[in-house]
Subunit: 349 residues, 2 copies
């Protein structure tokens, strides 16, 4: 399934991009006056292969949840059990991402791809657990290559299901206590950033915990010597199950030519893996925001993505992606609903 | 009316701000993890005097339109007639701001406060023309102090009408060919910025036109020697009628304790005047975006406002304000709809 998905990822339609640029220049506004919104519109046109592009709605957000063996190294002040507790909160609709998604009109899917607890079946919970949390990446590979591929394919599946249900925009979300540590390691592996450079404060850690986190990332890089030319190997060695599923989700969106809005650093790390597997996939990616995590800015720069929002968010869950969604929709609406200068001159609009 | 409005502007309710901060800290998320969205939520609570604050909807956007005597100096490549043509486009619903407002669920009011043309009556057009365009600010005061006050009061009226119609969030919009020149002069007057520093490319001008614009701003500052301690004098000497109306609109929102989202540089300039008249008014201001105009960044820094968006927009019309609106709504929704950590721990959410 992964191979088929990778083969389905194709470059943007250059003709549609050019038609979008030409239309922007013809609209009743100065050239380029909508800045990044015009870039987004051209991207949506290139992805859809048509101009004006369809308005990317309805939107579907997948929160992939997993746990992390590296938690035992003391990289997070939060107990691992919070991952499962937050999954329950997503299911009951009480989390930040639920509130924001209701407001933005996005549906939310919660996917257990690797929580280290037996979650009771619940309406809205997709049980696609590959394993109950990863191993400690600072001591051994976080997972096997087979498990990594299985988790990637979970993400592909979820993307395909949402698209089959009519979603025309996907949004990434993640939940996993300690998951900024594997994300930082992945970003280091693909950007060459040092542990000090990629390691952030996650959910808000003190200096001692930060130093521990830097050391853990450094040990992991020394141990695994990740080779960016082998993206699945890097993912298996350093990643989390939710990062792997997000890789598949991103690839699935790109293969379906549906835009996918990236939430913070988990998505940024996954996007680097996805791009290494299928470079043209980036044409489907929109950076919802740049998080307060230093690795996030590094990842987006490496991907060549400009974030829609820069609001010091560092929550995850998909919160930054869903906050950016209205701007993505607006980019399509501008191309379909705004009059041209000629129409204005003719008094027709 | 202006005096009464100024007296009605009061500081934020510190108790409500503190309750919003405490609630943010109690929600099912790490402290501070929503960054600027938390700051916005606290601001909304302080303005409303209650926590959680009401969700700021419905939203009403006013586009104030005016013309500028300084146009004759060659500061813009666009003919002055475009102002009236764009007013028609707003009324027919074909402009960028119409498309974005429909998508965001905001109503749009178009106000002729100073267009240099006789506009035919039309449904949706509010004829509140104070005069048919300003005088050339590089040669004489743009308008009289009486005219400036009249235009400010138009803005107060429009804000009060929208609030009376149920709007719980106001958004600024402006249309006026050449209106970044008076805006730059106003920002220079209130920040001490030099003509070179405050003068931008507007709708996209070449080097020669930019040099002309810098010289015009410099001549205006030399001629009028604006005194920031006399804000109405500065406004009359340097401003446009749409800037003056926006000053009133901002003050009207603040007096009604309704948040007002500022679009680009016209609003930034007006906000400096409004703050000089009533310092506490800033508590109602949300910077929708920071435009590509250099004076915009300068104005927001002086006001102490962090923009919601930074997307190289330079259109005006209210486009950046309406794009930011969903984030402002989200800030209120987070405080009213998200479960607390205690509720999560008790399994109740």
């Amino acid at each position: 399934m992964l191979d088929r998905t990778l083969r389905a990822v194709r470059p943007p339609d250059a003709g549609a991009v050019a038609r979008a640029r030409a239309r922007h220049d013809a609209l009743a506004k100065p050239r380029g006056a909508l800045g990044v919104v015009e870039d987004l519109g051209a991207q949506l046109a290139g992805l859809a292969g048509t101009c004006p592009p369809p308005v990317p709605e309805p939107a579907g957000l997948a929160v992939f949840a997993g746990d992390h063996g590296v938690h035992r190294q003391g990289v997070s002040p939060w107990p691992q059990e919070i991952t499962a507790a937050m999954v329950s909160t997503f299911l009951s609709g009480g989390a930040v991402v639920n509130a924001l998604a209701r407001q933005a009109g996005a549906r939310v899917r919660v996917v257990d791809v690797g929580v280290a607890a037996d979650l009771p079946p619940a309406p809205g919970l997709l049980d696609r657990k590959v394993r109950a949390g990863t191993d400690d990446l600072s001591e051994r590979p976080a997972m096997s290559r087979t498990e990594a591929v299985a988790a990637v394919e979970v993400g592909i599946d979820v993307a395909a299901d949402l698209v089959a249900q009519g979603c025309r925009c996907l949004l990434t979300g993640d939940m996993g206590i300690a998951n900024t540590t594997p994300a930082a390691a992945l970003v280091a592996a693909f950007t060459g950033g040092t542990p000090e450079l990629v390691t952030g404060r996650g959910t808000g850690i003190d200096d001692a915990t930060w130093a521990t986190k830097v050391a853990v990332v450094g040990r992991a890089l020394d141990l695994h010597r990740p080779d960016p030319a082998d993206p699945l190997g890097v993912l298996a060695a350093l990643g989390g199950l939710e990062h792997a599923a997000t890789v598949g989700f991103l690839l699935g969106a790109a293969a379906a030519r549906v835009p996918v809005v990236l939430d913070g650093i988990a998505a940024g790390a996954a996007a680097l893996v996805a791009r290494a597997l299928a470079p043209d996939a980036v044409g489907a990616f929109v950076a919802g925001h740049v998080s307060a995590e230093p690795a996030a800015r590094l990842a987006l720069a490496e991907l060549g993505l400009r974030p829609v929002l820069d609001l010091d968010l560092r929550l995850g869950e998909g919160s930054g992606a869903v906050l950016a969604l209205p701007v993505v929709r607006a980019a399509a609406v501008v191309l379909s609903e705004v009059a041209t200068l000629d129409e204005v001159a003719a008094g027709g609009a």
